[in-house]
Symmetry: C2
Subunit: 134 residues, 2 copies
């Protein structure tokens, strides 16, 4: 009777967590945008549509896999559109939707806060690490 107890409890916990997530909008969106690449893609598209090949170099450090994955997720969530022009070679443009543009102020707010307080954070880290070094 004790068999699978751990797994069972894990399952129940998973369901409880999912249920919680399901009823909490901000948690869901948080999961969606709490992603490094998501915010970077959104800001990259802020000035207008870009092709895949233009997008990639503007987001230093992103792999092709992560970029594609991020773009697909954002398309699914209705934050951007993916337009294929069947020329040879093919051309694909990504553009923010109206919904996608409404989130830009939030992303900008994050960026502004970052630039305004990064020095304080660095100072705090130095102090903290110094104490640990004693």
């Amino acid at each position: 009777m004790a068999t699978m107890t751990a797994a069972q409890r894990r399952e129940r916990a998973r369901h409880a967590y999912n249920a919680y997530v399901a009823e909490c909008p901000s948690r869901q969106v948080l999961d969606a945008i709490s992603d490094k690449w998501v915010t970077l893609v959104l800001t990259a598209l802020a000035d207008g549509p870009l092709r895949y090949g233009e997008l990639a170099p503007r987001i230093a450090g992103v792999s092709q896999k992560m970029l594609t994955q991020t773009l697909r997720r954002l398309e699914r969530d209705g934050l951007l559109t993916r337009t294929i022009t069947p020329t040879v070679p093919v051309r694909v443009d990504y553009e923010l939707t109206a919904l996608g543009e409404t989130i830009l102020p939030v992303v900008v707010a994050i960026k502004q806060w970052s630039e305004a307080h990064i020095t304080e954070i660095h100072a705090a880290r130095d102090t903290y690490d110094e104490r640990a070094g004693d």
Copy 2:
């Protein structure tokens, strides 16, 4: 001569990436707050200091490990303080610093956007998934 080529390139890539991150404040902060638990802890502490035991149940789904890890990181970044009262049993309080409070508006903005647009996101997902089902 070809040995370790992949690993070497990976190392170089890692350094290039880190260098980029090092000179971009918003990227650094983004890494710091692009974390589900970070924002949740910050909002939980918005109304005043809380003990560890009070904090945990307010953030459903968080494990003790993740909560502690998140709190340590936020303490290191100077966003909150950790106060130990050496009674028996010990009592630990967490409280936002002045710096920590300055980020609350940003977190609130995220929350408000989420609640305002979650319906549209759900609709977009349904449409997208429906097309995929054809």
